[in-house]
Symmetry: C2
Subunit: 318 residues, 2 copies
């Protein structure tokens, strides 16, 4: 990552280093965790899964992390979010123009990193990356469109989440295998593992967006309810044939919600059975992910690591 | 272009069709010119220049037009410009989030279009595109940084303009040849032709930004002076050892400039000899472009068309 970011124009590096948690606002180095690192771990393990050295997966790991961070940077501008991981967002600190241009640079850099690896597998991996990026962007567009809509069906919501989160995790979980020139069947199975894991992961994220502790999420309590985000628990509750669905609709009609209304909305969603249904949904897709993993016939040690990672990211603390 | 844009998520198409001049704000088809089309023309002619059918250059033409339009869409957000080509900009009409996400989608689509053409030349062309895109973004970052700086040297200014405009025109002018698998020497010569042409083109654009008629530029009179843009005529005037340089500095110290101050600034820049120097600069780089074109040993008809195009875009009406 540092080698890749070092290729960027010097004018863009401070905002990127800050965003990645490598530097503070003044450019001084800091020891940060820089996010969960799930995506790069998947990419490296997917190389190992098909018997290749982990180094083969590294360009895929870097590329997916660059795309993920480009999307975070732009999302923060689009959503007007001033805080991420307990720190001001790039646009809040460096300005909107800087955040847009630095994000553009990361997106471009991701493709450069993959194509520069050379070999006949690199263009295929790059094509997979841009396909996943395009799906992610389409998911973001749907997500944005949903916020101004009153009604979103659970099917629309899950299709959006599959695009927004699943596609890039699908790329991450297969990038190393694709760079290692594995058979299409194994690459596809690993991609399916990542896509399903993404769906489970996003459902957990949606639960955290309502019931997560601010110390865990780095966001205000129930921030997704405040922004009237059509996340899975909300959509399932509104689509349920329960008295709570109507009460929730009435509550949402009086935006913006104050603290009491937010707390009441969370209780109504739970009472409508949507918290439980979302948990079940996450479990179902974790199971599907692990089934897909098995069909990829991964090397034993990578199988165990990928399973552990999958279980870890879908069992986050509330 | 229509086939490529048709691949985008339906939620993103209205803003893109509007931006490209294909549709009005309500989505009704309109007969617009959709911009000058210089870049796609260069890409197609560069295939012909090396003896390939023009169709070989089409994916390059589409890719360069997509990247160019992604950058316009994001630039309008970054610069806060509410009007382009006598119409409201995408962000002014559809919102900032929409403009950012639609721009991201176009950038990704450009790489998809090139990689999907297949063949051994496609990954090389895609690598050239992302390299040019990265240079363009670096140029935009410098441009943005310059606006808040008091002093910018002519060298810094021209390096910025080479990156911001020259790199993508360099790609455009060689994309068709690269897709036709021409020799590296010919591809490089055509790229140099485009890069030099881009420098001449940008200098003319800078002149139009001060002395261009609003009916031609689609922007307010002397809009570059109002925004205190460090364009080449301004930088050359400020760097000149003339009394006008000091008067201009004094004028710029009292931002924002009113109409009288803008008119006076334009006169001072001309009196300092910077209008003439910029015109000479444009001529010099047009000559360098045509010299580079000759070394590419282009097919006669393509040579003539490229020469005509180069002369045309650097002789725009004021």
């Amino acid at each position: 990552m540092r080698a890749a970011v070092g290729r960027l124009d010097p004018a863009l590096r401070p905002a990127v280093a800050y965003h990645l948690g490598w530097a503070d606002a003044e450019g001084n180095p800091v020891a940060g965790d820089g996010g969960k690192g799930v995506r790069p771990a998947l990419a490296v393990l997917s190389a190992e899964a098909v018997g290749a050295p982990s180094a083969v997966g590294v360009p895929g790991a870097v590329a997916v992390e660059l795309v993920h961070n480009f999307s975070l940077m732009h999302d923060d501008v689009v959503d007007g979010d001033r805080e991420r991981r307990h720190r001001p967002t790039v646009w809040a600190l460096f300005g909107m123009g800087e955040a847009i241009i630095a994000g553009d640079a990361l997106q471009t850099l991701a493709v450069e990193v993959l194509l520069d690896t050379g070999g006949r597998a690199a263009p295929r991996a790059a094509a997979s990356l841009v396909r996943a990026t395009q799906a992610m962007i389409a998911g973001q567009a749907s997500d944005m469109a949903f916020e101004s809509r009153e009604q979103v069906s659970p099917e629309e919501c899950t299709r959006m989440e599959a695009a927004k989160t699943g596609a890039l995790l699908g790329f991450a979980a297969s990038a190393g295998a694709e760079l290692a020139d594995a058979t299409p069947a194994r690459v596809d199975a690993l991609r399916e593992f990542g896509t399903q894991l993404g769906l489970a992961f996003q459902a957990i994220d949606d639960l955290l967006g309502i019931w997560g502790a601010p110390s865990v999420t780095g966001k205000p309590v129930a921030s997704d309810l405040r922004s009237q985000k059509k996340s899975l628990p909300v959509v399932l509750a509104l689509a349920s044939t329960t008295p709570e669905a109507d009460q929730l609709r009435a509550l949402f009609a009086n935006a913006p919600l104050d603290d009491a209304a937010v707390a009441r909305a969370a209780l109504l969603i739970e009472a409508a059975g949507a918290r439980h249904a979302t948990e079940e949904w996450a479990t179902r897709h974790l199971d599907a992910a692990l089934a897909a993993l098995a069909t990829a016939e991964p090397v034993r040690s990578a199988h165990d690591d990928l399973t552990e990672l999958a279980v870890f990211v879908t069992r986050r603390e509330f």
